[in-house]
């Protein structure tokens, strides 16, 4: 035994070093598509649900990294991914115009809602977006912002602007978390504050809380609250090594009737999280 151990001890380092050098060779796999997406499509479990269907239909192995829309767009611009699934239409259009992406295709939507504690200290329930924001500001009720340049954060900033209110920044009641959607909802719940969220993530949150969430939907249905998700292929003109053909297959598949039906069937607590709307 003793000799065996000493042999192992003597050679372990070399074996490990050899493995390290060989490592990159294993990494090369064909038909692999890399996507940058937003936390909402990942945290809700939608992608885990869709990915096996996509792989089965096309033989392509899809991998994704979930971050805010701002960073997802930057990853595409730096050629680190092949395709994007994001939700900030204004920023996306600029992005495509700038030549970083191509073939922006609308896939599905849900809507943004304002949620808050059941007690509703600022009395915003049923109000329009602009009235609700005014009430929150007047009452100095806690308001939680993603503050991370994500699609939701961009939408929130746009809503302050549409309500003709200055963007809150250093106000004591305005809390900028810089974190993902569910984390930020948890912060809002801890602080009994208001927050803007996409409905999909909210349903997931309610589901995780056993259907009895401490945070409820207070403002919804306003036209400005629509949350559109789109697939954008990273432009091969900007990124020569982007897998444009695989990205196109993904885009086609997402807009195809099979995937559209799958998206519509994805429900929690009996409610759909995303509504398919590819043309």
């Amino acid at each position: 035994m003793k000799t065996l151990f000493s042999i192992v001890k003597r050679h372990l380092l070399w074996v490990l070093m050899l493995a390290w050098l060989c490592g990159p060779a294993w990494a090369a796999e064909p038909q692999q598509l890399l996507m940058a997406t937003t936390t909402s499509t990942d945290n809700t479990g939608l992608l885990d649900y869709l990915a096996p269907h996509f792989t089965k239909a096309t033989g392509i192995d899809i991998r994704w990294t979930a971050t805010g829309t701002g960073k997802a767009l930057a990853l595409g611009q730096n050629c680190d991914v092949d395709v994007l699934l994001v939700h900030a239409p204004a920023a996306e259009k600029k992005y495509v115009e700038a030549g970083y992406g191509q073939n922006r295709r609308e896939i599905m939507y849900n809507d943004f809602v304002f949620i808050g504690p059941t007690a509703d200290p600022a009395g915003v329930k049923g109000k329009s977006v602009a009235q609700a924001l005014e009430a929150i500001k007047a009452k100095k009720a806690a308001f939680i912002s993603r503050g991370d340049n994500s699609g939701t954060h961009k939408m929130e900033l746009q809503l302050w602007q549409l309500a003709n209110l200055p963007k809150p920044e250093k106000e004591s009641w305005y809390v900028s978390t810089g974190q993902g959607m569910l984390t930020s909802i948890n912060v809002a719940a801890e602080k009994s504050g208001y927050i803007l969220t996409d409905r999909g993530t909210y349903i997931k949150y309610a589901y995780d809380k056993g259907g009895q969430p401490p945070m409820v939907v207070l403002v919804e249905g306003d036209d400005v609250l629509r949350n559109q998700y789109s697939v954008i292929e990273v432009s091969p003109k900007n990124c020569a090594n982007a897998k444009a053909d695989l990205a196109r297959k993904f885009s086609d598949w997402m807009a195809d009737s099979q995937a559209q039906k799958l998206i519509g069937d994805f429900k929690l607590l009996g409610q759909p999280l995303f509504i398919p709307n590819a043309k």
Binding site: K9, A27, L182
Partner: protein
């Protein structure tokens, strides 16, 4: 509070029910930390030994730089490695972004200064009599070096374990360079960050306990080997 107990229960379930996602994260963590440790030990121990053993001009300045690098923030390392391995970066053609190899490179940068600095300290703090004893026993220069290395093995091992602890528990590099991609680059620590983001605190705690268990096994094996 409930989720701490719930986390303990889930940790057992994850490990003993053979949860595939957990084992994938465990494998990723072990792979990147092994790569990083192998390289940083192979490079770090000789360099650290030289730094502690030899006397040359500028030695103290080099020492100061290495000691400072022990405080490199991990997210900063992650960002620098990202800048290099991004497809637009100088090493972009190697396709290292969002791979375990990419994470391992970052972790090597993290571990190397720790190994070098602690090896150097170990050599510096050897008994002054060791040198005279070895020389009086007729040791030549190579034997003097080997003898010193042998006498400092426990202190160097302690340094290696400290570096290993940093590497295993690292999250910033793994997140930025690895991208937390399920089944591929999701390590235990990035999985904990994700579960926390999702508000699944019990699951996060369970994964933390799994990581602790691995560290326990590693330290236990080292202490077993040391005894022999």
């Amino acid at each position: 509070m409930d989720f701490i107990l719930e986390g303990l229960r889930q940790a057992f379930l994850l490990l003993f029910s053979g949860n595939a996602e957990t084992y994938s994260a465990v494998a990723a963590t072990l792979a990147v930390s092994s790569y990083a440790m192998a390289v940083s030990l192979a490079v770090g121990i000789p360099s650290g030994f030289a730094l502690g053993h030899l006397r040359f001009a500028g030695r103290r300045q080099v020492r100061l730089v290495v000691d400072t690098l022990m405080s490199l923030p991990t997210v900063f390392i992650g960002l620098i490695v990202y800048a290099f391995v991004s497809r637009q970066g100088p090493l972009g053609h190697m396709g290292l972004l969002f791979t375990l190899e990419g994470i391992a490179i970052g972790l090597t940068i993290l571990a190397l200064p720790v190994v070098i600095s602690l090896s150097a300290s170990a050599v510096e703090s050897t008994d002054a009599n060791l040198r005279t004893t070895l020389l009086s026993l007729g040791a030549g220069k190579p034997q003097l070096m080997l003898g010193t290395l042998w006498e400092t093995r426990h202190a160097i091992l302690a340094g290696a374990l400290a570096a290993y602890g940093r590497v295993m528990t690292e999250v910033g590099i793994a997140m930025i360079v690895g991208g937390n991609i399920k089944w591929h680059t999701r390590t235990i620590t990035t999985a904990i960050a994700l579960e926390t983001n999702k508000g699944q605190f019990a699951m996060g705690i369970a994964l933390g306990l799994v990581l602790l268990l691995i560290a326990f096994v590693v330290n236990g094996s080292v202490s077993f080997l040391r005894k022999r």
